[in-house]
Amino acid sequence: MNIFEVVGPVMVGPSSSHTAGAVKIGYISGRLLGEPLVRAEINLHGSFLATGDGHGTKKALVAGLLGMQTDDIRIPQALEIAEERGIVVSFGQAILREAHPNTAQLILHGRSGQRLEIIGQSLGGSRINIAQLDGIETNFSGESPTLVVYNEDRPGHVSEVTTMLSNQNINIASMRLYRSSRGGEAVMVVECDQEVPESGIDWLRGFDGIRKVTYLGMTGE
């Protein structure tokens, strides 16, 4: 138990789940897009939808997308800041089956045309879970350095990733593989004990069949 999850975080209120958790979902989503955001469609589900206005959940999600952390005092002005930066944001209701009560679906469009669809859940006490990336089920929190590799579902890609980590002397805390279908799109989520250097990430990008590599470091942008 990290005592700074008991006393802390320093955060903009009013709710650790509906505000701070929402900022984290937005922040991780923005980082996973990996390029400047131009348009975001945000759909809310359950308690996020029902009580989100009073908790500033929409502002919090957008603040996170803009790169703000949970203690950023600009969170209440996030919608105006997004507008100033020319980012188009729209909100709707998520149509999701059996989803966690605090769920947000974000469909993000980047400057070069990258598109990312992400489903994030706020689990309480500002802890979150990324439950889906581009329609593929996942399960990670972004609490440790996380490498996300999109690849074709073919033999060999796991060993490319583990070779790189081994060469960089990085210990794997957890590694999970997900795919849409056999031989289809696959996502590898690797949570690490140490930071992954840019050179290792670039090395992976060079492989045939690895479509995209994104990385969530702990040191910010």
């Binding site: 008991v6 006393v7 955060m11 209120g13 709710s15 701070a20 500033g56 006490g125």
Partner: protein, 285 residues
Amino acid sequence: MYHSIADIIRQSEEKSCPFWQIVLQADMEERGVSYETSFATMRHMYQAMKDADAGYDPTIHSASGMAGGAGEKLHVYNAKGANLCGGLVGQVMEKAIKMGESNACMHRIVAAPTAGSCGVIPAVFLVVEERLSLPEEKMVEAMFVSAGIGAVIAENASLAGASGGCQAEIGSASAMAAGGLAYLQGGSAEQIADAAAFALKNMLGLACDPVGGLVEVPCIKRNVAGAVNALTSAQLAMAGITSAIPVDEVIDAMRRIGNEMPSAIKETSLGGLATSPTAVRLTEK
């Protein structure tokens, strides 16, 4: 590492070091950080509480319109000398309600242990720091005492209204503040434990039934109850009164009560105050 308040007290005796240091040492081990880093992080939390208190805006109102202005009313009332509870209790009440309002109005606060209960610990600590002219180091040490109590509650019961009701939020905050206050008054590890036990016992069974699902009604004013309860609980312990039920068993009782509570009063807003006729009317607006 510790898994109960009794663990902390035992280790404190074995190593001949104070309660707060056991909590700090466990943090060093848990996160792989130095003594200085752990202490500095806690100092940062305490400073952030002070900043949040100083940043109260008497003109703010929440998006729902239900929160705002109460801290200023209490300030004016206290300034007139009208508060029958006296200066110290009056100030604690004022700081607690102000912090709760700041949280509801999207200001920056420190979740301790949650955002909804963020007013309890700073209200008690900031007022007592000034009254007893305590050095900041001592305040940070007391924060470790509070954090240790909270960590034990998190492990053996819960800090979330959704799983344990409000006893897990305001109740835990009150127990954390009471233990910290006993330490600030020179209390022993046993007195810290008793203070926390008294505070938590008074909060057992408290429902989490927020109007409209918002952290406003009754949460903001309950910060006052939690803070004042911490003050009186610490005084009982410092007078040498002991808790008939040891604090770890009180925490376990809190867990069992939380499990037995219907979900309607565990942050779903499907029961209690949240479904009162006035709440329904306020929510429709």
